[in-house]
Symmetry: C2
Subunit: 424 residues, 2 copies
């Protein structure tokens, strides 16, 4: 079919439904086991970092003389902080280097904000009910973390240049219980957009616009260097914008090497002002003696001077996967006017929007024949996609052949569900 | 002097004070820089584990087929759980293997107990004020962690066989706000005692004696295999005792490789019942995608079949340090009846008790001439040693020569302060 489904005569559409149903039944009779749900690197990407294991080479001394094998050093090794600085585009003095999970650092920052505040004064969030702005669709783990801590989420729309800042400003000005905003500013999960310079400026000014005096921008720069094309998108410096707006004490940035080296065995970073880092370090001291500095040294040495090359190597492996997804979407759905999708220049996801009301159904149909997709609604707080239309596609983990098979199944399900809906 | 100070004639004692003051002034004129405050391994101990860096050898697959480089696996690798089981003396099914810090796991368990409870039901601690029993002297970081979370500490005495269980039972029976007890059951920090079989049994029965229905034994088995002599002390199995008492859901054990391999780059463990592990895993899932499984695999392979040998190698390096401390204490103070000290069969500390009221003064005097000791009171909640008499000596990090010099200074300070006190 090469015409928009909505433009078809009823009989032609009925015929299409019938044909698609036959195709679907055929697929169902040869049930596969495919998975596009996981935003994780494939083994060939992980192989790019096997050299980590040789990076120590018997020399366990940091450039500042610290024996990395022993206890201590809450802020992290200087060379690890410098690595974080390079990845996140901030000065090393503003960086704290931690363990293997930026999500753990986010949880730590949010719980510290809730219970103590980030400034060494009285401004703990939990003096009142706490709400956070959540641009949607967004990253499910931000939502689950917030929900687990009893935080209410207030959705705002995400556009091609970042969160809708008119919505954001109006909401934070009106409601002092809104204490912050979650952001994935570059190659946003799942839409792939990168915030424009103007949006970055406006976000840095948000604490001034807010009724709350303890507003925090939670800036999860997870895909800071994760370009698929070169040069990739350029993200303006939040710290520079915050310096201009005099709001640096209200910006907390996160980053990690999780999709640069080993997804589960990397190192993670916080960047903020000295005042905030001091408060965080104090509260961290009750929870640990220090991070794994051996792994920090391993990473600093392995990635020194070659982050850019490493990311080009990743892109070479995963760009063909994104291209297959996009080409099959275009080939199967391009003319039918039943779906739109993103064409990201980096990151880990393609975001597919269906006709309203079809996401759950399509994901269930795919599951029925052996294709696992991210659960419907996962990109919205509480799993509630109000239009039930967003499907997140994670192309990196599957092989090229698996991807092709999976995308044929997914597009078949989209077509069948859409044609049925329009025929009804 | 070879007689007890208290038995001396006033003039003889005055003469002793005068002589000791001269010695002290001489030391003060040659200020040293020595440190016995840190319970951390020396570089030669860390060297015992440099082979960790070769343990992966290009094979990143766990015995269950998991690619350890990727995301996931909150409970840890099977071989890491087996290592934790071996160290802690529990079945591997009861073990969760985590990151580099058991203190982080303790903080996680206590905050989960506070906010959600450990049983998937309504029994969160924070339904009321929360108190924990703290055997004293004890581990400062347990106290600081508790204080940071707003938990009140109720001190009980520690004896040569463990906490005074009559005190413990009476307190927990009378006060439903007492929700648990901190324990370092083997080579206790700082006294070095190992809990007797009877005490272990009685601790396992404590949840039944408690007025609280959500009582938890926090069992920090930090020195489980850290013997100085062989065979070392034998600690009875808490899990077996709890099975007999039907209290296994109220026991949470902690362990780590921190003083087996790299102090800052090891792996840590929780052991508890399946019900508790399930609840912990759920709440952990909001905070991380998984632990660093590469380091878990590294440790499991490196230590497989050689934990005992590794600990003998450690003992060979640090036993002479303990012996120097003990021999200088005996030589300088043995006849004077002004101090008592422990002679531990394992662990990291020697606990020195002075005449009441002298700990702060002696530690300050030592500091004055360049010897840093653990701050007075550190082994008590809020840094408050009610008798101001306990000094914790950490012999492992210093060299033998440093130790000798440090112990001469420390014993000189003890003698001078004691003689002055008795002469006053």
């Amino acid at each position: 079919m090469t015409d928009a489904y909505a433009s078809l005569e009823a009989s032609v559409l009925a015929n299409e439904v019938s044909q698609l149903q036959q195709d679907y039944d055929l697929v169902a009779s040869n049930k596969m086991s495919l998975d596009l749900s996981r935003g994780k690197p494939a083994a060939d990407q992980l192989d790019l970092s096997n050299g980590l294991e040789d990076a120590i080479g018997g020399n366990f001394l940091s450039e500042n003389g610290t024996d990395v094998r022993n206890y201590g050093g809450l802020r992290g090794l200087p060379e690890a902080r410098a690595l974080g600085a390079e990845i996140m585009g901030v000065p090393a003095d503003n960086v704290m280097a931690g363990g293997n999970s930026s999500l753990t650092l986010m949880h730590f920052v949010v719980t510290t904000a809730l219970q103590h505040g980030l400034w060494g004064d009285h401004r703990a969030w939990n003096r009142s009910k706490v709400k956070l702005l959540t641009p949607v669709p967004g990253y499910d783990r931000h939502f689950v973390l917030s929900e687990a801590l009893g935080i209410e989420m207030v959705n705002i729309d995400i556009t091609e240049t970042g969160p809708d800042m008119d919505q954001a400003r109006a909401l934070v000005a009106a409601d002092p219980q809104i204490k912050g905003i979650w952001c994935v500013p570059k190659y946003s999960n799942p839409t792939g957009c990168t915030y424009s310079d103007q949006v970055v400026d406006e976000i840095a000014q948000l604490p001034d616009a807010a009724a709350a005096d303890d507003f925090i921008v939670l800036w999860d720069n997870a895909y800071a260097v994760h370009d698929l094309v070169f040069p990739g998108d350029t993200l303006a410096s939040l710290l520079d914008a915050a310096d201009r707006a005099q709001t640096a004490d209200h910006m907390v940035q996160f980053g990690s090497t999780s999709k640069i080296t080993f997804a589960g065995g990397g190192i993670a970073f916080i960047a903020s002002s000295e005042r905030v880092l001091n408060a965080l370090e104090e509260h961290m001291s009750y929870q640990m003696i220090g991070p794994d500095k051996v792994n920090q040294l391993r990473h600093a040495r392995f990635l020194k001077g070659r982050v850019g090359q490493q990311m080009q190597n990743h892109a070479q492996l995963i760009r063909p996967k994104f291209e297959i997804v996009l080409s099959i979407l275009e080939e199967e759905l391009g003319a039918l006017d039943i779906a739109t999708w993103t064409n990201p220049r980096g990151g880990y996801f393609i975001s597919l929007d269906l006709l309203p009301g079809l996401a759950t159904q399509v994901i269930d149909m795919a599951k029925e024949v052996g294709l696992t997709l991210t659960p419907a609604g996962a990109t919205f707080p509480h799993g509630n996609d109000p239009q039930d239309r967003n499907v997140r596609i994670a192309p990196t983990f599957a092989t090229l052949d698996e991807l092709k098979a999976a995308m044929r199944i997914l597009t078949l399900c989209v077509k069948l569900a859409s044609a049925k809906k329009l025929a009804a």
